[in-house]
Subunit: 379 residues, 2 copies
Amino acid sequence: MKKFYLLTPGPTPVPHKVRQAEAQPIIHHRTKEYAEIFREVSEDLKTVFKTSNAVLTFAASGTGAMEGAVANTLSPGDRALVVKGGKFAERWAEICEAYGVEVVPIDIEWGDFVSPETIKEHLDRDPGIKEVFTTLCETSTGTLNPIKEIGEIIKNREGTLLTVDAISGLGACDIEVDKWNVDICVAGSQKGLMLPPGLAFASVSEKAWKFIDNSKLPQYYFDFKKAKKSLEKGQTPYTPAVSLTIALKNALDMIKEEGIGNVLNRHQKLADATRAAVKVLGLELLSKKPANAVTAVKVPEGIDGVELVDTLDKKYGIRVAGGQAHLKGKIFRIAHLGYMDRFDIITVIAGLEMTLSDLGYKVEIGKGVKAAEEILKDL
Amino acid sequence: MKKFYLLTPGPTPVPHKVRQAEAQPIIHHRTKEYAEIFREVSEDLKTVFKTSNAVLTFAASGTGAMEGAVANTLSPGDRALVVKGGKFAERWAEICEAYGVEVVPIDIEWGDFVSPETIKEHLDRDPGIKEVFTTLCETSTGTLNPIKEIGEIIKNREGTLLTVDAISGLGACDIEVDKWNVDICVAGSQKGLMLPPGLAFASVSEKAWKFIDNSKLPQYYFDFKKAKKSLEKGQTPYTPAVSLTIALKNALDMIKEEGIGNVLNRHQKLADATRAAVKVLGLELLSKKPANAVTAVKVPEGIDGVELVDTLDKKYGIRVAGGQAHLKGKIFRIAHLGYMDRFDIITVIAGLEMTLSDLGYKVEIGKGVKAAEEILKDL
C-alpha cells in the first residue's frame, strides 16, 4: 500500500470538503442563489488580496488573467518594464510581445530577485514606461520579489502601473495589495486557494481603471470593464465555472476560519522547516531570497535530478516538481503551499532522505526530519 | 419536499458519476497519467465532433474559444460575414468588432434561420470575405441553422472559412464537422457534454490552419498553434482545468457507451415530445426551424412570461430559461439537452400545465403530458 502525496507548486492538494462542494449538483448561474455566492466569494477574496478594490474572477487558468492585465491596460507601441529571472516572469514578456507592447527587460539570474533600485533607475531614465510587470513568488525558482519596495517607487508616478503575478504567491507569501500600491494583482485557484485549476483572479486599483479607459489593445473574454460591471450584479459577463466557484466559497470559508494571518504564519513555518531540513542534509537552496510557497533545492553533485524526482514519485508516492527550462535536472522544488500541514513536510523530508540514500548520496537518515520537527512542533 | 429539476440550455444537469469524478483528489497535469487521460478525451471528442482533425481544449467557457477562433484566423481590417438573429450569433459580431475585423452582417429576425442562398449571394458579391461566422443551435431562440448547406457553399472557396458556434448544439443537434466542411467548430462543456461550465473546445480544419499561419491579430491564452503543439504531447500550454478534464473523461465514456447516434436520436425524441406537448396545450413555438437542444415557446397572450418562469421555479422546483434581450417575458425556453431522459420531459410538461393553470390560462391538465408520453414511450 502506498498513498499519494502531492507537494508541487500547483496544482496543490484540494481539501475533501472543497472537492465535495465541487461535486454538488450544478446550479444555474443567472440566479439569485448563484449571485449571492459569487458576491460573497468576491468580498472574501478582497480579504486575501488585502484590497478594498474589486477582485475580478475569470473561468481560466492564471495566464488568462495575466493576458487580461496586459490587453486591458496598454496600447500598441507602449513600453513595459518586465522583470525576468524565471519561467513565469518571462511569460509577462511573451504576452507583451504578442500584443505589440515593447518590452524593456530587466535580466536577472534565475534564483535572484530584482533590486528596487534597478527599477527606479529604469523609470527615472525612461518615464514613458507605462507598466512594470513582476512576480510575487517566481514559481520556477522559489524566489520572492520585494513588491512592497517596488510599490513605493511606482506609487507617485501617475504614468506607470505596477502589475504583479501573485499566482503561486497569494495566500503563502504576504502581499498587501492596497498598502503596497499594487495596481493589478493576478492570482489563480490551484495554489494557496486550495482549489483545482480553472479560476483566475485580478484585483484592479483606481489608478489602473484610468489606464483601462485609455487602452487600445483588443480583448473580449478577459474584458476587465465588463467583468467589473457584471460583478456589481453578482454576475460574470460569460458563463462562469459554477462548480469551481461553489468550491471556492468553501475554500475561502476555511481560510476565513483559520484567519489570513495564521495562514501566512503557517506557510512561514512550513517553509522555514523545509529550508532548515534540506540545509542540514548538506543541500543548497537555489534562491537568494526564498519564498514561502515553494523551496527550490539544488541537486547535489553526482546525483541525477530527474531520477531524484522520479524515485520520490514512483518509489515513495511523493510528487515534488523538477526544474524547468535550463534548470531541468539541476534543481527540485518542494511546495509548502495551500492545504498543507506540518506532517506533509515531515513526510516529504523523510521521503527525500530515503531517496537520497537510494541514489548513493551520503545522508544521515532522520537528520532533516529532526531539523524540521524542531521548527514544526511550535507551528 | 420539493426536488430541483434543471432544464436550462446550459448549465445542464451533471451525472452523479461525472460529479464524483470531478471530486477525486487532484493530480498533477505534467505527468504521464494526466497526458494519457487528456489524449484519450481529445480522441473521443473527435467522435462527437465527427472530425479527424485535432480538437483543442481550453480552460474557459465557450466564449473564450469563440474569441480564439477570431483572433487566430484573421487580421486587422479583414471582413467577416456574421449571421445574426440571436444573442449568441451577435456575440460573433462583438468579438470581430473588438478585434478590428469589419463585420458584414446578415440580419435575420430572432427565431428565423439563415438561408444558404443569402450567404452565397454575399460571398459572390464580396469574395474578399475571409470568414463566415454562424451558430449551429442559437440558444436564445432555439433555432437550427443549415450548417451542411452553408458548408457546401464555402468548401470550394479557398479564401473563406466557415466557423460555427456549436456550444449548445453539439451532442444534441447533428453536426458532421468534416463532411459538412466546417473549418472551426466551437463547443463548451456545460451543454450536451454533461459537465459543469469551464471547458471550451475548438476543432480546426487543415484549411483553417493555413489562415492561422497568416493571421496577424494578437492572442496568447487562446493560441491555437501552441495548443495543438502541446496536445501532441498530451498537454496544454497553460495549466488545464484538471478536475473538469477528469470529469470529461467520464462524461465521454457515457456518450461512447450510449453511442453518439443514439445520443442524437434521444435528443430528437425529447425535442419532438416537448414540441408536441406545448402545441397541444395551444402554445406556439418561436422558432421557424426548432433545434433539438432547446425549445423556445411563446408566452400566451395575457400571461406574464417572467411570472411563468418564476412560478415553475419557485412553486414546482423546475428551472427553465426565460427570454433574453427583447424577448424577455415573451418566451420561455425548455432545454432537452445532455443528461436528460424521457421523464425529465414528462416532469417539465406536467409542471408547465400546473403553472399555466395557476396563472389562469385555460389548459386541459394532462393533455400535454399525454402527447409527450405517446412519443416518448418509443424512445
